[in-house]
């Protein structure tokens, strides 16, 4: 195994493979920065170019490009509040809030470092999990995957606000997201649901224009109203702080590592995807706050809200490769496209990848690690300059940001419908921000709705209602209830502690 690991490294370090990886990193860097131009689309566009390449070169190019998209997609989320990748929206909450406080450099530094840690954990997970992952993946059937989606939404709904009113808002937002995911042709009976005669809606609401509009338009409107720079009234000198962000990553190394593991685990589960990994890790970061005061800092620029999603966003790639390589079951849509790369280079995913072609598999591990190392090394010198973008006057920035939103939305399906969807979600997002409703549960509902419905139907069709008694389902159900009850329990404990303290003070007096 060690021999194969070293062989994999040597193959990636060969000049041709290394050059292809650097080319992939260069393309991925720009694709990630441009909102809406997803990594999946670029992978699909670049697939024909791997004809005639050696497998190691092909995967150095494709994986090098794909793993970098996740990292640089976060940059625009932090700098402008516009998710560079449709699903890298969790970073907007605290990353953009930090940019508004003049801490863009710190947020970018923290994000890059946590991305690197996440990528390394994901690569390590891929290397270590290959021999042992089979029973884990096979033990998760449709019922367990359905419960995992329910738990994800419950998790975010309960953490998005506190108390009964916060939970109700989170639940309503999550339910609205799930309902919006029902738009389009239904997968079971082929009925057109809520399409109102619009051909555009037959395929459902596209995530990219929805998320880009939902998060970016309220921020741009706010900027157009304020007419000051993003980091208004903050001295330019304070904008740097990149190294402070790097140090933050090591100050909260435990959280970064835990979120990386969450990302890798979600990545392994076929179909759950990157958005879930980001939001689950964001939820975990919020949950790690020890006091209510500490918790209230989230959404207002807490660096932990950047570290968690940043780490998970990259570690999920290593995780998603595990079922793709080992069983030919893609862990995400990007992996489904990558599967094409296997066939184009004459490889068949499955047992052969763990025996005959083990060095090629390990070369993927090394590519993930090296591509991220290269990206971080290239990005660090640029960060102080990128951070200064937040000092540009809003009146100069706003038309440029609107263009990014419109281009990002339009390239999803090349249709006016995409722009209309982005604007409609922008209006909804604006209303939710104004009334202090959480947007995260809605996005997660929208992302997970399709999967939840599909897994529910497969579960019912395959097991009747007996699926509710499966041990994995029961465990996940209990965890979901615990997630929902936990905020109330925490509140009750706080009240009780305050009462005891009050009594003790009264007694002492």
């Amino acid at each position: 195994m060690v021999e194969a690991l070293l062989d994999g490294l040597l193959r990636v370090l060969q000049p041709n493979a290394l050059l292809y990886m650097l080319l992939g990193v260069f393309i991925g860097f720009w694709v990630g920065i441009l909102p809406g131009i997803g990594g999946v689309t670029t992978l699909a566009l670049m697939l024909p170019f791997v004809y005639g390449m050696e497998p190691v070169q092909a995967f150095a190019f494709l994986l090098g490009m794909h793993s970098v998209v996740a990292t640089t997609g976060d940059l625009t989320s932090i700098l402008f509040g516009i998710p560079g990748e449709g699903l890298s929206a969790a970073l907007v909450l605290d990353g953009y809030a930090m940019a508004k406080k003049g801490e863009a450099g710190r947020a970018l530094g923290a994000n890059l470092m946590s991305s690197l840690v996440g990528a390394l954990v994901g690569a390590a997970a891929l290397a270590l999990a290959i021999p042992v992952v089979r029973p884990l993946v096979l033990s998760f059937g449709s019922p367990e995957l359905f419960m995992l989606t329910v738990m994800g939404i419950a998790f975010i709904a309960s953490l998005s606000g506190r108390g009964a009113r916060g939970l109700a808002r989170g639940a309503a937002a999550g339910a609205l997201g799930l309902l919006l995911s029902a738009v389009g042709q239904d997968p079971q009976a082929g009925i057109l649901r809520y399409t109102f005669g619009q051909l555009y809606l037959w395929g459902g609401i596209d995530i990219v224009p929805a998320v880009v509009g939902f998060f970016a338009i309220p921020e741009i409107l706010d900027l157009m109203v304020r007419r000051s720079s993003i980091a208004a009234s903050v001295p330019t000198g304070r904008l740097v702080g990149v190294w402070e962000g790097v140090k933050d990553c090591f100050r909260h190394l435990g959280l970064t590592l835990r979120c990386s593991v969450i990302g890798a685990f979600i990545g392994i589960m076929p179909g759950l995807g990157g958005g879930v990994a980001q939001w689950m890790s964001y939820g975990h970061a919020v949950q790690s706050a020890k006091t209510p005061e500490e918790r209230e800092r989230f959404g207002k620029g807490d660096v932990r809200g950047v570290l968690g999603p940043g780490a998970a966003n990259n570690s999920k790639e290593g995780g998603a490769l595990i079922p793709t390589v080992a069983f030919g079951v893609p862990g995400s849509s990007a992996m489904a496209v990558l599967l094409g790369g296997f066939f184009l280079t004459g490889l068949v995913p499955g047992p052969d990848m763990l025996t005959k072609h083990l060095p090629v598999t390990y070369s993927m591990v090394w590519t993930l690690a090296l591509a991220n190392l290269v990206t971080v090394a290239l990005c660090f010198p640029l960060l102080p300059y990128l951070a200064r973008l937040t000092t540009i006057r809003a009146t100069r920035l706003a038309p440029f940001l609107l263009l990014l939103v419109f281009v990002g939305a339009y390239t999803a399906n090349n249709s006016w419908g995409d722009i209309v969807v982005a604007l409609a979600f922008g209006a909804l997002g604006y209303a939710m921000v104004r009334f202090r409703w959480p947007r995260a549960p809605l996005v997660l509902g929208l992302v997970l709705g399709d999967l939840a419905e599909r897994y529910l139907w497969i579960s019912v069709a395959r097991y009747g209602w007996d699926w509710l008694g499966r041990p994995g389902v029961v465990v996940l159900l209990v965890l979901t209830l615990a997630v929902l009850v936990y905020p109330f329990l925490q509140e009750w404990r706080e009240r009780r502690t305050a009462q005891l303290l009050h009594r003790e003070v009264a007694h002492a007096d």
Binding site: S160, R165, L179, D222, V225, P399, I419, R436
Partner: protein, 163 residues
């Protein structure tokens, strides 16, 4: 105090709107087979119940202090009338872009938006506005048309002229 009251009324109306959306979505499923209707009925009902709870809690003004979402805040120290006027103006720009896009096509509308916004809202010099606008057009044309070959919709007026 008056602002808080307005905010509460706004939230009640917003939650009420979601109740109506949920109820409408459930009623709309009436003629669908169970296979297609079950999921929207379940999540639509959940939306109605959760939004009703929000509506009631907002009307009774219970627990707002604790409920504040982990979210961004629209922060502005500007007076409310200025905020209202600028919000409407910004919406006007977005609406104007849509109309321009329909009339002259997507890329010319984007270029027009940059030119007009920089000149009239940003009060930039003609020189800066011109350079920025030409740069924007070059990037859009080069990236969307020449590099990605995206099918860019032409406007109604452009189609008429071409015909």
């Amino acid at each position: 105090m008056r602002t808080e009251g307005k905010g509460r009324l706004g939230e009640v109306l917003f939650a009420g709107f979601l109740v109506a959306v949920g109820a409408g979505a459930v009623l709309y499923t009436g003629s669908w087979p169970l296979k297609a209707a079950l999921y929207p009925r379940v999540v639509g009902s959940a939306l109605v119940l959760a939004s009703l709870a929000c509506c009631l809690l907002a009307a009774l003004d219970r627990g707002e202090k604790r409920a504040a979402a982990v979210e961004l805040e629209l922060d502005s120290d500007l007076p409310a009338p200025v905020v209202r006027a600028r919000t409407l103006e910004s919406l006007g720009w977005i609406g104007g872009f849509l109309v321009a896009g329909w009339l002259v096509g997507l890329i010319p509308a984007m270029v027009l938006l940059v030119l007009a916004y920089l000149r009239w809202v940003g009060r930039e010099s003609w020189w800066f506005t011109g350079v920025f606008t030409v740069g924007t057009w070059a990037v859009l044309e080069g990236f969307m048309v020449r590099l990605l070959h995206l099918p860019i919709p032409t406007g109604v007026l452009t189609s008429l002229v071409v015909r």
